[in-house]
């Protein structure tokens, strides 16, 4: 296990460097002048040039690249042009909210999706199966902000069960949960739609395996076949796919945080966008890069943990 862990960690290093290079490419090499975008179309040439100098955009590209990589890797992700505070500090302030939201929605998604998918597979082609398939397809067709607006309208504005602005909540646990509920349900439903579909197809595959037939032939009770032989094996692809969909979840959390006005990375990035805070944007891209690399790493590790065969490959 340790060897596998080290190997995976070492693999993550070149990926991280490559992804950071992509970020640098997006920020500096693509056509479009950040100084121009920040100052707007009416800005004079002198103002643009001054900002270019201030941001270091006038220096040779190689020099900028080396600087960027050094900064990114040493945790110096720049300071906000607007507030003057460090990007790292701003991120640390809000990241607990984003992590809390992400974990809650994965949990919710798994709690709904795994049983529903397994049940659907066990009753293949029944009315329930059909409804589950159409329902989950419908669920994953929702853009996150559309569902969020509908939930907000129904449960916060009309019924008044939850706060309209999910500030994240005060100190008490119940308050925090109250603020977390709607955003987490929003992302959780979409996640559940994905998980249901993967669990169903993976479960169907396992149900057709020889060892399941053997177990049945031996007279193993139905319940034990389902729980011990099928579900555990069927969950292996589910974990990988949850890892893959974490990307979607990260994207969707941005939209969710905007709709519910909840603090988090997404709101930070949109705030930087509206204030044209270039250094903050670039810093947040680096933050997302790290998150994505770490998430991929964790998915790989979990995969190895659930399926011992992976380690020996």
């Amino acid at each position: 296990m340790l060897q596998y862990l080290i190997k995976r960690l070492l693999y993550a290093v070149p990926t991280l460097l490559a992804v950071l290079t992509v970020v640098f490419f997006v920020a500096r090499v693509l056509p479009g002048d950040p100084a121009q975008v920040m100052l707007g179309e009416q800005a004079g040439a002198e103002a643009i040039q001054a900002l270019r100098v201030r941001l270091g955009l006038d220096r040779p590209l190689v020099e900028q690249y080396v600087d960027f990589m050094q900064g990114a890797l040493s945790g110096d992700w720049g300071t906000s042009l607007v507030t003057g505070r460090s990007v790292l500090g701003e991120v640390l302030n809000v990241i607990p909210f984003t992590i809390e939201l992400t974990l809650a929605s994965i949990l919710l998604g798994a709690l709904i999706g795994v049983p529903l998918g397994a049940w659907s597979a066990l009753h293949r082609n029944s009315l329930v199966d059909y409804a589950t398939r159409i329902g989950s397809l419908f669920g994953l067709s929702f853009p996150a902000f559309v569902m969020a607006i509908m939930l907000l309208l129904a449960f916060a504005i009309q019924l008044d069960w939850f706060p309209v602005i999910s500030s994240g909540g005060g100190g008490s646990v119940s308050e925090r949960l109250l603020h977390l509920a709607l955003p987490a349900v929003n992302l959780g439903i979409i996640m559940a739609a994905y998980i249901t579909r993967v669990t169903r197809s993976s479960m169907l595959e396992v149900l057709g395996e020889d060892y399941v037939r053997t177990a049945r032939a031996k007279g193993v009770p139905h319940r034990a076949v389902v729980w011990q032989h099928c579900l555990r094996n069927a969950l292996i692809p589910v974990v990988t796919v949850v890892g893959l969909y974490l990307g979607i979840l990260i994207g969707n959390s941005v939209l969710t945080e905007i709709v519910f006005n909840r603090p988090g990375l997404g709101k930070l990035i949109v705030g930087a966008l509206t204030q044209r805070d270039y250094t903050m944007l670039q810093g947040l891209m680096v933050v997302y890069t790290f998150i994505i690399v770490v998430v991929n790493l964790l998915t790989d590790l979990t995969y190895g943990f659930i399926d011992p065969r992976v380690k020996y490959q």
């Binding site: 992804v19 997006v26 398939r133 067709s141 979607i248 939209l255």
Partner: protein, 298 residues
């Protein structure tokens, strides 16, 4: 022996066979047809927008603002007195145009990259696919957001950003069959006949992977439309007053306590299109990738 001569024959029969398989996949799952029909209606609405629109989608008429549905304004008017129905049908044009063009670019560029990587193999293959993996590790929405934020919002930049996020999956799906096909006898025969690499790829390999790419296209079109709408909602879409679905939802959402209904019509529109495309893709997904791994999105 007969199989080999069959392969040696011209490419079209092979392409036809693949397309027939595609049709068969459509027929085994009726939802695909429902999806296709729905999508066709939306495309027709977008094409006929100038005919269907009852008002100018951009011209403001403050006297008529925030009117409810009536004979004159089918879906009512927005905060600037613009007809929502007219904005909706013109918005369909933009959504489909940005989504369609970006996926078309991603299909062409992605399959080309994947075919070249798979066909030539070796270090080139490894290098190309590693770049693709890196791009793939970014969620579509986040990468799109970064690119548009840096380049500024415009139709061209949105298309570029969305195409960029969709290239890697097409490269992947084009590469795998290329690797297996290039070892076949008939490709060897083509080489012996002195055919050029581009000719072999275009005439003898492309028909093999074309149906898969088409199916992936329908799945990714759904993602592209969703990402475009999301970026517009964030405020990174085509600039107002041009009607976009995401932008219309944003306008309704900004005053959600007073004018919440403004965001309902475009929300339903996006949902219908994405659901229709997902229904098409759902029936055909087994055709591409039985394990659902090809599907990712914003």
């Amino acid at each position: 022996m007969s199989a080999v001569t069959g392969d040696m024959a011209a490419a079209p029969p092979r392409a036809n066979r693949a397309l027939r398989q595609l049709l068969a996949a459509f027929n085994t799952n009726k939802t695909s047809w429902v999806g296709l029909a729905t999508f066709a209606v939306v495309v027709a609405i977008a094409i006929l927008a100038p005919v269907l629109a009852t008002h100018d989608p951009i011209e403001q008429n403050i006297l008529e603002k925030l009117k409810g549905p009536s004979a004159e304004f089918i879906l009512g008017t927005d905060g600037f007195g613009r007809d929502i129905w007219s904005r909706l049908v013109y918005g369909a044009r933009l959504s489909l145009w940005i989504g369609g063009v970006s996926i078309l670019i991603a299909m062409v560029v992605g399959s080309l990259i994947g075919m070249v990587a798979g066909y030539f193999g070796g270090r080139l293959d490894i290098a190309i696919m590693q770049v693709m993996d890196v791009l793939l590790s970014f969620p579509s929405l986040i990468l799109g957001l970064m690119v548009v934020a840096m380049m500024g919002p415009s139709v061209g930049n949105l298309i570029f950003a969305i195409a960029l996020t969709a290239i890697p999956p097409f490269a992947r799906i084009a590469r795998a069959p290329t690797v297996s096909v290039k070892e076949r006898d008939y490709i060897e025969a083509c080489r012996a006949l002195g055919y050029s690499h581009p000719r072999i790829m275009a005439v003898h390999i492309l028909p093999n992977i074309f149906p898969e790419i088409l199916v992936m296209g329908s799945l990714w079109l759904a993602t592209a439309i969703r990402v475009e709408a999301s970026l517009s909602f964030i405020g990174l879409g085509v600039r107002p007053p041009t009607p976009t679905w995401g932008g219309m939802i944003r306008e309704g959402f900004e005053n959600i306590l007073d004018t919440w209904w403004l965001s309902m019509a475009p929300s339903v529109a996006i949902l219908v299109v994405v659901f229709a495309l997902n229904m098409i893709g759902d029936g055909l997904r087994d055709f591409v990738d039985p394990k659902l791994k090809g599907e990712r999105g914003g």
